[in-house]
Symmetry: D3
Subunit: 328 residues, 6 copies
């Protein structure tokens, strides 16, 4: 666990605000940093326009705005843009947009004519509104980093997951990456736990339908336990298909690990009902209300990672150890 | 009525797309212009991100994008930003954002600390996305025009309403503006119909609660009919209060006229149930589904006004006659 | 009176310069702040180009430039742009343009085709030259705030006027706003002095000719004294017409109050010769040479308001109390 | 003389406006181009703000704005910035700023601390206002070209002067450049007329006081007639001193030639009263009212040069022959 | 083969220039388009600065600049930036940077601290210089598209290679992608030729040293011929290692295919000397001088693909068929 | 000699890196400043792309990057742009580009059609990459200063040369400027040493061939020793021609002084072999390897001048004394 070192943030130098998406994570970060979380008033005008007011003077201060872009993403995005705009026009010195889950990273290329590379568009919008620094976790592809004209720090949750699994008996366990083209992070995870790694070849038929090909079956033979390691789970369809494939090849227990547990529709229920899946481990970049959680779900907080990255940035220390370098 | 003059738009020079907010108005505009309305595919990824695809090549063409910003405004806004971005990155020659109802114009000043002049922010976002021209109708205040760095044309629906009332017997009728600080448009409407005008002094207690003060009562004495003329009705509260005040002072029949009929919650029902209100006249800048309309509601289309403004812009003719010059 | 609190500006951190328009006010501000006013050399080349030199190194410092845009406005504007440019290219850390009277705010909308929203243009020019912050007093309309891409602080002189009248016997006095569409500030002034308020309806026939309509007469009946409260007086025509109207309705003594006493041509003489006007109270945002002043004129300095706003900005304190929120 | 070739400007494609500085030259240019000169309304508000209105729709057209920056330069500059802004916000397709005399080119370097390279500042301001092309004549130094981010065409008046002198008997004539560091243009002028050239070494003591040093005397010995060739004359002091020096060395007749005849204060009178000066030849980049002209003054129009450059630019022909390449 | 359709480029509308890197390809493109290739003068000043002159007027024209960024890449890049700058400042209407091989695409993410995402930097530099459109072939990763703020068209050479192999007897042939994470293009190539596909898992040990892992051996068993399909070959090390692996598993004949044949140092010789490699097929995005070519090398021109894309762009036709949508 | 004053740079506040061009000068500067010189890793990918890594965290720090642009200039330029980009995207607080020899300053005007004002282009590129301040020495023309949108400080090496010659017996010595149009710096040098000055009139026939005209011969008669004073020597041709001319007119000993000793090809050898030249004095803005130096060459370091300018900038002291004001 990262420990609180001695160089601290001076509370009077900063302001910390949360959008409406994830005040729980914002509170966790400020607790780690031992600074107050200032109020944000968010409501709607009768014509549906948002009304946002930051509850403390930002003049000449470093302002941190926490907003995670899970559904409803457009409301959360516009709210964030307004918060940035307010800080800018009220003469903040620095404006740090802390976006634990940057959903738009999924739209990172043109694989059809006349569509939007929305991740780049949103990066531009954040910069136009006035953000001077962007902090996020595990982008869908590492190139999205290059979409930002302002300094950007994509952090990694991997150490949190490694720390979670390290105390366990991991004999007979193999790490499985659902898609070979994003297998680097899974590879590092496996290496740090001294585990072997296998990769499927996910072929996306449509947004909600995928086919796992490749020789995963042969690769996992002889193992009893698997850890499926992915960056993001929305509908859970491909993980469930992978789980069936693994079970068919002799795997008896599967832990599912993902940084961003978006879990739309009934994904969490479907995953939890899949027999061979014994555990679903995710971070809190996306807020999952207590009443939607299942007994198999384990949510590990990354508040201290964001907190520590903010602290080091503030204290001008290198954040190398927290950064995700080119993980795909 | 504005007639179709001879200089026409060459269909191969342009592309015309509608966002999901108001395809009916977009269709009306293209009918007026005798050009096709191209397809737009709009759906959502499983993680709630929008997926937008323009259905025809825009390369080197003048592109017109119609999107009205009524609720859900944030979804409609992000959709519009993406459409603009697509046209820009696909090498469109010009990108005209046609926004019949620009709801954000209401947030045009700082009347409290640390809030956003959101109209300015959104103007910047549209420009960042790539819009080269902005067309709208009846901004909340004429200064909002100055928030745009690109050419902007705020049009007026007033002639449509004048044409509607002109054939009637208007004897004993007075025009009433609910708020004296936005009374110029009502004054021009009255003058063009040879009617007198009175103005209330709306004091906004909160977003949904207002008080009408001033001497409206005395001004309207002796009249039997009134036309309340406003730019936008959301909850309808102030119009209903004004109606009671007018009824109390001898007015027997009230026609309510507004450019933007936002009619949130049960506004339309409440207005329709107000006895002295005999008619509610609005334009179609905001889409009102047929099943929400009441028998007292009359919707007049402004499609031909947008169409004609687009035609003149295309043909490099002056649009002076369609422009709203400083109406407040 | 605002008192000098303990957090002070460190003189070595800043530089303070005055343009040629209003060194008196600049000196008043620096006296309040207890910092030196640095020299500015301003002269003309033989071809009429301005030559401006700032008299102290600005490298890495916060630079404050005071220039009020009263006549000759274009000379004062170009001078200010050059001062900003010099500070920027000489590596100043921050450049605060302090513009007590921003005359261009009057050109805030398009009420005729093919004219300039000059307030927006000038806001852009100031930003291009390198200003990082804009400070002014009482903009003609609050939306002009949104024309600035840099943080802007429109301050209010109202408390100065309130403090001036508060010690007096105000029985039988009514506050009168010449134009109902800019009556909010008059309303606040009246409320803070526990006085009633009435408003005329100024209809502008041309730049120099207006007509006061509305029911001012009836509103003021029974009062003996009036305070006409306006934001700016140039020719004084409408105030004089209003004064006659008030006198005709029984008002015996009139105090005229305005933030910006531009007083062009012989305005001050004409106002002073108007019998019922007993006093003309204005701030020193516009410089009035001693030899042009009349015995009825009272100039109240706002140097301490600008000084205090600068101090709070420097010390990162909120300037809420000095800010004009949406006064029209 | 440049003849009107066949490719003409289509009048409906363009708009041509003149600022208040030099309608005579603008009229000359439009006559050459056989296009109409549209109206510009320019007046002042009572608070000294300029009011400018362009008198014809510019929508989608190429707009040409002629404004020469001689005294009062700041008024002329702000007027030009407003004209550009109007054209931009009214959706002009191209905006060509035609500035025959760009006085600010004199402020092209920092020869003292904390002064403004005003030529660069003004280039930025013109671009911010919306100019898309800049056309001028004989910049003070050729590097000023590089201050413009938009395409810029500095033209030369030299051929006009050559054509004027060519028919004469030039035997015994020498061309003299007052300052060796700006002698290239004089050299070309001399070469094209098969004349020898000499150069003085002007040392500027102050803005209005210079000393001619160097060996001019020896260089001109044996000649009877001289043509002093300079880019700009303001006070005329250095030309008069040079004339005395030449007379002292045997020159009997002097023709003074300069592109920009600014002639401030009584320069024209002083030059005309200098006995050895028999003729003062200048272009009409600066307007000299008829009543200020003297009998020795000859003004040669450059309207056709600007006209031809505009025509070639419009018709996409090269303007090489009209361009001043690196003349110093 | 793409045939020349009827809508042609009007030669007088455009200018076409080649940098010094690849005049052969530029000539091929202009031949396809039936337009002239204009001259470019490129030499060096004595202090090593480049001197570049475009040999024909670009005023108001669409300008196409062909420059491929193979070694010496920095010289070629600066040359291209200067050509763009010249066209921009000489008032070109459009500036199309045609960069067949964009070598910087390899630097597309931060896989170590404090390195440059150089592809993004260069995209910004091209935009700053004045490029309005970017055309290239087969970017290293499809996300690099999003680094460009101007419209960008990454084209594909795949159809050229497919046409080359289609007439052959391909029985017993398998397509092999050296790295599974960039296997999409190989997959499409295989599918269009009705061939199976296998993929290695290239692990990069350093810039010049890689290890092929995965089960390629087992996948290719039973095949006699293989086509190794890659996007770019520099040192050829990984292809040679893959070839040995394939030979070891029974493959007898190997054709190597790559879009960008950079072939640094002695790569071409080493590949040609590898016995099982019978043919090396590449495009001419990189120029390979005749004297460096070997008998096994086959260079297929992509001039007609660039030509056709330019033609369609000019004629406002969709270039969908030539575009590389998300190939990795 | 400038002495180290008391206000020092706090090493933890800054980072100092050298590009590959001139680590010797960078080391000299850091020695003067008593701060460490951090590591820079610079190598090339196999496809010739540069790989650059800064060896210490720059987060929130003031970063100084030293790179002199002598041959190979394009490699050195791209390297510098990448270093700036890295610092920017890694959240440096300030980025100071220290470019002792800015070779591009030679391309400062358009003296032929369709060439690049490359000095302006490169200034833009440096700003795009992220530089916030530019420091250099003796620009080719003082107007180049105006090409920079960021603060720029052109320093002068003149005091170093003056200190070098002052202790000598300078009787019978004259200072000679090779080109009268860049003679101001030579004039100041002469004045400070109480020496007379003469100037040639260099006419550039081509980049490598010049002709000295003018009356230098007569001016130097009676002197025995000359100091030729120039800003930059590349091929040395004009200095050698000037030396012959001086020898022909009685000068027996010549010291050649130049700020930038580029000395391309065999310039240094040719100068050294010229008999009348007894000494070649230059600064170390350009690195001359020890094995290329001749016995007549004297290299004087300017490290302390850059160091002192950096120190003053850091400590917010004026750098007036080090600045080159308008020397031509």
């Amino acid at each position: 666990m990262i420990t609180l070192t001695e160089a601290l943030i001076e509370p009077s130098e900063i302001r910390f605000f949360s959008g409406s998406s994830h005040p729980q994570l914002a509170a966790g970060i400020t607790r780690y940093l031992r600074v107050p979380l200032d109020d944000t008033v968010i409501r709607r005008f009768s014509n549906d326009n948002l009304y946002v007011q930051l509850g403390a003077s930002v003049r000449g201060r470093r302002v941190y705005l926490v907003q995670s872009l899970f559904p409803p993403v457009n409301d959360h995005l516009v709210e964030l843009l307004m918060m940035i705009d307010i800080a800018r026009s009220a003469a903040a010195k620095e404006i740090h947009a802390v976006v634990p889950y940057f959903s738009f990273a999924r739209s990172d290329k043109k694989d059809a004519p006349r569509i939007s590379i929305t991740a780049k568009l949103v990066a531009n919008l954040l910069e136009t509104a006035g953000a001077t620094h962007f902090m996020t976790m595990m982008l869908h592809s590492p190139q999205v980093h290059g979409f930002f004209g302002i300094p950007a720090d994509p952090l990694t949750a991997r150490p949190v997951f490694e720390n979670y699994f390290r105390p366990r008996d991991l004999s007979g366990t193999i790490v499985v990456a659902p898609d070979v083209s994003h297998a680097k992070s899974a590879g590092r995870f496996a290496r740090n736990l001294d585990l072997p790694v296998a990769a499927g070849n996910k072929e996306r038929l449509s947004d909600t339908s995928v086919k796992i090909t490749g020789l995963v079956g042969r690769q996992v033979q002889g193992f009893k336990k698997a850890i499926i390691y992915d960056d993001e789970i929305a509908t859970g369809t491909s993980v469930i298909e992978m789980s069936h494939l693994l079970a068919h090849n002799g795997i008896e227990e599967i832990a599912v690990v993902c940084t961003h547990g978006v879990f739309v529709r009934n994904a969490l229920e479907r995953l939890s009902k899949t027999g061979e899946i014994t555990e679903i481990v995710t971070s809190d970049t996306v807020h999952i209300p207590v009443d939607r959680r299942t007994s198999k779900l384990k949510v590990l907080s990354v508040a201290h990672i964001f907190g520590e990255a903010i602290r080091r940035n503030y204290c001008r220390e290198s954040i190398d150890g927290l950064f995700v370098y080119g993980e795909e």
